[in-house]
């Protein structure tokens, strides 16, 4: 059994997603073999791409595909036709008039 290079206590071996990790039973320090850090980084990147799962069984757009981008809002449909630079919300007189007329 390996001994911790820092405090000398025995280290225990754990397997995390196929990567061998030694952790000190005393100071909780972790020892990685050559290449193991890269393996963990790769696993993390894969996880980030596949996650987070959307709530519910299926995710639906919260707005139409032709909608303008809202600043700081939740997802708003598949955009991608070059209007990302649109400004946020308008509290100007033009909008006020439109809210109250046919």
């Amino acid at each position: 059994m390996m001994q911790c290079p820092k405090c000398g206590a025995p280290m225990q071996t754990y397997n995390r997603s196929g990567v061998q990790i030694e952790q000190c039973s005393n100071c909780r320090g972790i020892f990685l073999d050559y290449g193991e850090l890269e393996s963990l980084t790769r696993l993390e990147a894969q996880w980030m791409q596949s996650a987070p799962p959307p709530p519910g069984p299926q995710s639906y757009p919260a707005g139409p595909a032709w909608g303008a981008a809202h600043h700081g809002s939740h997802g708003h449909g598949p955009h991608g036709h070059g209007h990302k630079g649109h400004h946020g919300h308008h509290d100007h007189r033009g909008f006020g008039r439109m809210l109250f007329s046919s």
């Binding site: 519910g56 299926q58 639906y60 757009p61 919260a62 707005g63 139409p64 595909a65 032709w66 909608g67 303008a68 981008a69 809202h70 809002s73 939740h74 708003h76 449909g77 036709h81 209007h83 649109h86 400004h87 946020g88 919300h89 308008h90 509290d91 100007h92 007189r93 033009g94 909008f95 006020g96 008039r97 439109m98 809210l99 109250f100 007329s101 046919s102």
Partner: protein, 341 residues
């Protein structure tokens, strides 16, 4: 003498409306003066002159629908149990209780939840017994007003805003025919308001009674998504904050589900379900086109530039046209659907 910037009101009409509203001397306060309506207030009543070209028989049915018990607490009922009355000059008139409107200077205080609930209750209430009405329930006039807006743009003095008008025409061309008033809507068994916006809500009794829907001139059977389409258009055009849209739509969907009425209609079921934009999309596009067309028409007539809200609707029209023209081309040549990146 300064020239008025809008057609001067008709004093004889104002007097007739004041008499109708309850002042024998014919004195009242003009609270609205538009091409399609004049409203005069006397105390706790208002009298309305409906649009000069309004069809008399369907309008009479609409006013009587507002009096129906099934819409108590949803539609503000008229002040008299009769329908419309003829005014001197030939226009139809009606009398209503005065209600306190939404403060136009305080859009943040807009009653979005109440609006969503009222529309859902309107859409789910049982229809009034036809025997109590003088004629059949007319169609909701939303698509007709969209077409009218396009016509107004096409007949306004041409020249200015050519690119904007082009975007509006392109977005109009890719709407489903029923949204252009060319066919009956696929869903036409639900009673809809037909022209919902924040000016259509009043508190009654004023100043702090419950909110009611007013202005039944466009009310009738049609697609209930149309009543949500104007806020949906403002939201999609980037004019309405997502929080306001969420408050409005969540209240609507919640009230639908509580009413259990989605069984009655596939559109109501869809609006209460997980993918409401499938049902909102076409009417929201129609209202976007209508708003942009009216903006271009007014800007051309008044010789001014587009305001910020009108610009946002025109920009949305351009995006609609780009998106749907591409989809149509893809459909014609049977190209595979574009791959997600």
């Amino acid at each position: 003498m300064p020239l008025p910037d809008r057609p001067a009101g008709d004093p004889a009409l104002h007097r007739a409306l004041a008499v109708l509203a309850g002042d024998p001397a014919g004195n009242g306060e003009v609270v609205a003066e538009r091409a399609d309506a004049t409203v005069v207030r006397v105390g706790d009543r208002v009298a309305k002159a409906h649009a000069p070209d309004a069809e008399a028989a369907p309008l009479d049915v609409r006013v009587r629908v507002a009096a129906a018990a099934t819409y108590r607490g949803v539609l503000l009922p008229p002040a008299s149990s009769s329908g419309t009355v003829p005014l001197p000059g030939g226009r139809a008139g009606s009398v209503w209780p005065y209600g306190a409107p939404v403060d136009p200077d305080d859009a943040a205080a807009a009653p979005w939840e109440a609006a969503g609930e009222l529309l859902a209750r309107l859409h789910t209430a049982p229809l009034p017994p036809l025997a109590q009405l003088p004629g059949p329930l007319p169609p909701m006039r939303g698509p007709a007003k969209a077409l009218r807006a396009l016509t107004r743009m096409r007949t306004a003095p041409p020249g200015a805003h050519a690119a904007a008008a082009d975007a509006v025409e392109r977005a109009w061309a890719v709407l489903p025919p029923w949204c252009r008033d060319e066919e009956r809507p696929p869903e036409a068994r639900i009673l809809c308001h037909g022209d919902f916006h924040l000016g259509q809500l009043v508190r009654h009794p004023p100043p702090d009674g419950p909110w009611h829907l007013i202005d039944v001139d466009d009310l009738g059977l049609g697609d209930p998504a149309w009543d949500l389409a104007r806020p949906a258009c403002w939201y999609a055009a980037g004019l309405l904050p997502p929080t306001a849209w969420d408050r409005f739509f969540a209240a609507y969907a919640r009230t639908l589900r509580t009413a259990g009425a989605p069984r009655a209609s596939s559109t109501l079921r869809g609006l209460a379900g997980p993918d409401p934009w499938r049902y909102l999309d076409a009417p929201a596009r129609a209202l976007t086109v209508q708003s942009a067309a009216l903006g271009v028409a007014k800007a051309r007539t008044e010789g001014r530039s587009l305001d910020e809200a009108e610009e946002a609707c025109v920009a949305a029209c351009a995006r609609i046209a780009d998106l749907f023209e591409r989809t149509e081309r893809a459909g014609r040549t049977e190209l595979p659907a574009p791959q997600a990146p």
